[in-house]
């Protein structure tokens, strides 16, 4: 009897997809911060303010749960601290990630005073660099995780203000978005200068531009031009692949997202709000598709429900033209039942192999 090898080979399957080859099996991609912390007995905060603990907790957890991806470092409220606001790291049992404490820009006057931060010193970036040096030491792809332009702008001035200003002060919003765009590009240039473009894989999360907040017309006017500019300039730096986590309900924005270059191939991950068949329709020919196991089901469902959901995702997307990775639709809930998390690995092992 010939058995297929069941060996942890972090990133190999993903590298195969990125080089245009079909791997032996659908890769399992993480979105695992607080869960990894709890898994190894660290505080959730350490995932965001202690690069070494964050790296090791993820590495050990990925090995245990059979994830094919490699650790990364970041959070959705990125931009606030870097531009002069304050974040609060999670301390109590109900907190999941760093959250807003104060925003750098609370008025138009504040905006006039704001400057592009020094990417070597600002906010969490020194920790992110320390984390990337660990990735380098372990021979892994170098990732830098940032918020998207719109999310960073919202983290500079607060999502409420950004929303109001889109209608009342659109010129100011465009200035904020250009500032966010320039910042993203400066950060990525710093990573490229440090590690070389070939190894750097930016990961950009865009939760704020969801249709739960803004309209597709607002997306077209305020988000799309800056996303496109950012992506085009990142690719000009020599970077080959950008991962966009298109977080939440972006269904009405997808025609615009599909015009954002993401590399060859790019990687797009989705929440449960975007059907995988829809994702393949828009992105399948140029991007690896990843997603979209509903985190609330990982948290609240039975193991059988998680397993069945994973099976359905694999069956829908396994043969996407540029490949598919099974991934949670957003962060795995830190308190998720461990056996539910394991169900993702069981599902790729049972249904993810290619003949």
């Amino acid at each position: 009897m010939e058995l297929k090898q069941d060996k942890i080979v972090l990133s190999k399957r993903i590298e195969a997809l990125l080089s245009g080859q079909r791997p032996d099996r659908v890769p399992l991609f993480h979105f695992t911060f607080g869960f990894a912390a709890r898994n190894v007995g660290y505080s959730i905060a350490s995932m965001y303010n202690d690069p070494e603990k964050s790296f090791m907790a993820q590495l050990w957890t990925f090995e245990q749960y059979g994830f094919d991806s490699t650790p990364d470092f970041g959070y959705a409220s990125y931009g606030e601290w870097e531009f002069g606001g304050k974040v609060r790291f999670p301390t109590n049992e109900w907190e999941q990630a760093p959250s807003h404490k104060s925003f750098a820009v609370q008025s138009e006057e504040d905006f006039k005073k704001i400057r592009l931060p020094d990417v070597k010193k600002a906010g969490m970036l020194p920790m992110a660099m320390e984390f990337s040096k660990l990735q380098d030491k372990f021979g892994m792809p170098i990732t830098i995780t940032l918020g998207g332009n719109f999310t960073i702008a919202g983290n500079i001035c607060s999502p409420d203000k950004l929303s109001r200003w889109m209608i009342k002060k659109p010129k100011l919003v465009h200035k904020l978005l250009q500032l966010a765009t320039n910042h993203i590009l400066e950060v990525i240039q710093y990573w490229v200068d440090t590690f070389g473009a070939e190894r750097v894989r930016p990961r950009i999360w865009e939760p704020l531009a969801t249709n739960s907040i803004i309209s597709p017309k607002q997306f077209e006017k305020f988000v799309f031009p800056y996303l496109r500019e950012t992506s085009e300039k990142i690719l000009v730096m020599g970077i080959k692949h950008i991962l966009y986590h298109i977080c939440g309900d972006h269904n009405l924005n997808l025609p615009y997202w599909a015009r954002v270059p993401m590399g060859n191939p790019g990687i797009v991950s989705f929440g449960q709000q975007v059907a995988l068949t829809t994702a393949i329709k828009y992105f399948g020919n140029k991007c690896i598709i990843a997603g979209n196991i509903e985190p609330a089901i990982i948290q609240n469902g039975t193991p059988q429900q998680v397993y069945e959901l994973c099976k359905q995702c694999i069956e829908k997307a396994k043969y996407a033209p540029r490949g598919y990775m099974l991934m949670p639709g957003c962060e795995i809930p830190p308190m998720a039942p461990p056996y539910n998390v394991y169900m993702m690995k069981k599902a790729v092992d049972d249904f993810g192999w290619y003949d």
Partner: protein, 224 residues
């Protein structure tokens, strides 16, 4: 006393000020309404609140999104600030009271704020506890105000786990209360499993769900 035509014009103006998010017009027309001796309660219900109802419909139809809703609510509150002190006490039929807040560990409050606006516009008394609210605070506020409804909001999958806990805490102190929940990770099914009486997918459906729970409480009381 304003003529019927003038009254209708002003009510329409208040309605439009909310629908087209003109905060200044909402405040100014509210003052004019008072100067013209238009009843404050009528100006609110048939002007501002009717406008907010339309805004809810536009939101449900995906013609309006959060930026528009926030500005509409600014216009609503600009008008309410002028008119509310002039409501005659016996007219102020309070539909019900709701204690509302984002549970501990979560600072995402846009959704909760929009729900608050809808209840305000519908004539409820809203006790807004804000965001990252300690669980015991929900219990205390419900007890203090004797509110019929408690509305719990969350966006994160961690703070979501506080919901069943706070529901138990509230129920241990009060049996005649309806609890409704909302927020991105929640569904009607999860809400039920957590012990909630109601669930609202978005701000547009929240008041309707609140009214349903109030009716449920009345029936329950009548059966006792």
């Amino acid at each position: 006393m304003a003529s019927r035509k003038k009254t209708q014009e002003l009510l329409k103006g208040l309605y439009n000020a909310v629908v087209f998010y003109d905060e200044k017009a909402a405040a100014e027309l509210s003052k004019v309404a008072l100067e013209e001796s238009i009843d404050a309660y009528t100006a609110i219900t048939d002007g501002l609140a009717a406008g907010m109802k339309k805004v809810g419909e536009l939101y449900a139809a995906q013609e309006y999104f959060v930026p528009e809703l926030l500005l509409c609510s600014d216009a609503l509150y600009a008008g309410l600030g002028v008119l509310r002190p002039h409501i005659k006490v016996k007219q102020a039929k309070v539909k019900a009271q709701i204690v509302i807040g984002v549970v501990e560990g979560d600072i995402h409050d846009i959704g909760k704020n929009l729900v608050k606006v809808m209840f305000d516009a519908a004539g409820w008394i809203v006790h807004d506890l804000g965001k990252d609210v300690k669980l015991e605070k929900f219990v205390e506020e419900q007890q203090r105000t004797n509110s019929e409804i408690v509305g719990l909001s969350t966006l994160m999958t961690t703070s979501m786990l506080a919901i069943p806990k706070v529901i138990k805490m509230i129920r241990s102190q009060s049996t005649n209360v309806g609890i409704m929940v909302g927020g991105a990770p929640l569904t009607r099914d999860i809400a039920k499993r957590y012990g909630a009486d109601g669930y609202a997918e978005n701000a547009g459906t929240a008041v309707q769900e609140g009214v349903r729970l109030v009716e449920m409480l009345k029936k329950r009381k009548a059966q006792k």
